[in-house]
Amino acid sequence: MSPVAQQFTEQNDTLNEASVRTDLIPIFIMGKKYDVPSTLTIQKAFEYAGYQLIRGCGCRGGICGACATVYRLPGSAKISVGLACQTVVQPNMYLTMIPFFPANRAVYNLDELEPDAQTILKYYPELAKCMGCNTCTKSCPMEIPVMEYISAALRGDIEQAAEISMSCVMCGICAARCPAELGQYNIGIMCRRITGKHIKPKAKHVGEMIERVNSGRYEEPLNKLVKSDIETLRKLYVERQMEPHTAPEEWTPDKKDYL
């Protein structure tokens, strides 16, 4: 792109600047104009423009929450949100990444927590300031109804808060936009951990298996396998009975020697 083109920081409704490549469109990274291929994600557009990303780049696959991005399109006051690695550029979008946000996070001892509303309010008293404006929900790139889980937490329905917030990538846009200054994503994970630890029943079979392992019942058979030559192992491998794909949970194998 020409240095002259870079000087334009004003957002235009029309595609200007005839380029060598016909598929280039203008975008404004933090107010500065760059022409980038129209098929790129915002993340790849940054790199096309010449950035080496340090902050604002993680898994590049939409799950780590490193590349929270806010943008606005011409002719509208609406602030849109997206993950830079998942959002395709649009002509004249005005954008910035928010790679970090200093939301409040409580330090707690999970073992000691009671699964009720008082607990959440004790660690996050600002929860009570939620005014129900729904900005958090509107600003979630994962399309989570954020305000619903905040309301659930406030009601003491921690399990529901956990389930609604399950796909949260903790990118922090909700917290950045919240007028009541909540750190929703930190409240969400607290609810999920309380649910996983204190509300959902414990898996008994896991404890039982740990006891069997600790009793040493597998030591002998395993040590035999450790010492086996490849031919023996191949034979045992080929002969092992497969649990059918559609078998019910209670299915048991014919041979129970090494269970």
């Binding site: 395709v88 951990r193 008994k204 192992l233």
Partner: protein, 559 residues
């Protein structure tokens, strides 16, 4: 970008054969799996690792003479970022008991357990805490927890078979016996595994498993584990400090030859600084961002094999590093999803792989290397790949996800694979009704640094955990064993490091003599290069722009 008209037309062929394939599955009839001998031939003919020129013999270091991928050899045969003659080893910025290098699942598990043992811990990580491949692991975590049908014995056999019986037997034994404890530990930290109302955990098959033992949390199991471990580490902030955007670039020894810390690099201020510690846990993960043979990758931005380089320079040998895992199902359409992992659980749940004519050409639960080689064969040899729109000479095959709803009931795809469902919905593709176009993608570093069952190595004070280590998976890891590997060996390395700290009296004079020796060995081997390693970050900057970037102080990449 939704499917093109051409692709929609081709999908009709998949839809035509689907009812028969579903009926067969319901009747318990599966596509014939390859025999062990057939597997061998398939690999040798079609797996990328076996292509001429894929590997190169190492000229220097503890595994001299061993062949690894060109891209890793380049990292090993490169100069350190530090100059042993100039570095001031008296200026120490941080001192701690245990330095954990890497803020992913293995590193964080190690930090938690070391802290539990009474150690002060610093986690040094390249990007943010939790920015790691752990976060991206989708499918699940294997463990034999259901004693009425499974045990570590069968888990052991599956792991060995997947790794072609070359795995380190003791590491495998450790992993499968520690597995149930690890699941219990994660549950006690509040990980939300999918459960029945009575608390029993859901488990599924993975490729190469004889029992359904893969535990999961939706299709974001790794993310659930990572954010839980990270959250717990944050609760222990008094004893676990985290240095973000501060990758390690070289290890420190003391005059007795004990590992005693590392040189870190502040990516933002471009300063190098020292951390002195009584023990080091190396948990930097894999190397997919080296893009072996120019393959696309599912890996995290920071996966550049740094720990391999640092460990190798210090004298730790490598094994199984010749074997790179190509995940069979990486998205190839739409373009913005390219390389993205489609969890193996989709096949575990019953989805077939089919070619352009809607024909099945491989059993969908073969081990990953066999499955990948079979897809490459179908596209390159048989010629029944589906052309990828807008990309010349690029092909894929169909992963028939709509079968899952037909097998398990409407809504299953959306419920079991929420993250992928939303992602594709954003592109205008409903994967409960339309198949996904996929091709193998670079996924995992099967091998790595040599270590023992307790995480220890031949350098006292130096411990290894997770993908940076090699041996437990042999030449091919099975699905669900990486999350298991990182948590089991992360915990063990943390425990061992904690114990080691208690026994170690003090740290002698710091030394980087090993780096000086390594440089000398390079010279004697006639390696003349301007390369420095570790790479730290891959370089995706536009080459046109790069020509105009005249200075070379930019991080991570070489100009």
């Amino acid at each position: 970008m939704a499917y093109t008209a051409d692709l929609l037309e081709l999908i009709k062929k998949v839809e035509k054969t689907r009812p028969i394939r579903v009926a067969r599955k319901k009747a318990g009839e599966e596509f014939r799996a390859l025999t062990l001998d057939e597997r061998k031939v398939r690999l040798e003919k079609y797996h990328p690792d076996y292509r001429a020129g894929a590997l190169r013999e190492l000229k220097i270091g503890p595994s001299k003479g061993y062949s690894v991928s060109q891209e890793i050899a380049d990292q090993f045969e490169a100069r350190s970022r530090i100059d042993p003659d100039k570095i001031d080893l008296n200026e120490v910025h941080y001192e701690t008991d245990v330095l954990v290098i890497g803020g992913g699942g293995a590193g964080t598990a190690a930090a938690l357990v070391a802290e539990q043992a009474g150690a002060k811990v610093i986690i040094a990580t390249k990007l943010r805490h939790g920015d790691a491949n752990t976060m991206m692991a989708e499918g699940g975590i294997q463990a034999a927890t259901k004693s009425w049908k499974d045990s570590p014995y069968y888990h052991y056999l599956d792991v060995m078979g997947g790794g072609h019986f070359e795995n380190d037997p003791l590491l495998v034994k450790t992993m499968v016996t520690e597995a149930p404890k690890t699941i219990g530990w994660l549950e006690s930290l509040g990980c939300m595994f999918n459960k029945w109302p009575d608390g029993k955990m859901f488990t599924l098959h993975g490729a190469g498993t004889c029992r359904k033992r893969m535990h999961y949390a939706g299709d974001m199991t790794g993310a659930e584990i990572m954010r839980t471990l990270r959250d717990e580490a944050r609760n222990r902030i008094k004893n676990i400090g985290v240095l973000e955007f501060s990758p390690a670039v070289e290890l420190l020894l003391d005059e007795k030859g004990f590992c005693s810390g590392a040189v870190l690099y502040n990516l933002e201020t471009e300063e190098y600084f020292l951390v002195k510690s009584k023990a080091v846990v190396m948990a930097t993960g894999g190397s997919g961002r080296l893009h072996m043979r120019n393959f696309m990758t599912t890996n995290h931005y920071g996966a550049t094999g740094d720990g391999l380089v640092m460990g190798y320079r210090m004298g730790i040998g490598v094994r199984f590093l010749h074997a790179t895992q190509y995940h069979p199902t990486g998205a190839v359409f739409p373009e913005q999803a390219e390389g993205l992992l489609i969890t193996e659980k989709v096949r575990g749940a019953g989805a077939n792989l089919v070619n352009i004519d809607g024909e099945q050409f491989v059993f969908e639960r073969e081990p990953r290397d066999i499955e990948s080689a079979s897809i490459i064969r179908e596209c390159e040899k048989v010629g029944k790949g589906v052309p990828v729109p807008g990309q010349k000479d690029k092909y894929g095959v169909w992963l028939d996800s709509p079968m899952i709803d037909l097998l398990e009931g409407t809504g299953t795809v959306e419920r079991e694979f929420p993250a992928k469902f939303i992602l594709f919905k954003r592109y205008g593709i409903d994967i409960s009704k339309l198949p996904m176009l996929i091709y193998p993608t670079l996924h995992y570093q099967n091998g790595g640094l040599e270590y023992q069952s307790d995480g220890s190595t031949n350098i006292p004070g130096f411990f290894v955990a997770g993908e940076v280590g090699g041996g437990v998976h042999g030449a091919n890891r099975l699905m669900g064993n990486s999350l298991l590997d990182i948590t089991v060996f992360g915990r063990l390395a943390g425990e061992s490091a904690g114990k080691f700290v208690n026994q170690r009296s003090d740290i002698g004079k710091l030394s980087v003599e090993h780096v000086r020796q390594y440089h000398k060995e390079m010279e004697s081997a006639g390696i003349v290069t301007e390369r420095v390693s570790p790479m730290v970050l891959p370089d995706y900057a536009n080459p046109e722009v790069k020509k105009r970037q005249w200075t070379t102080t930019y991080v991570g990449s070489l100009r």
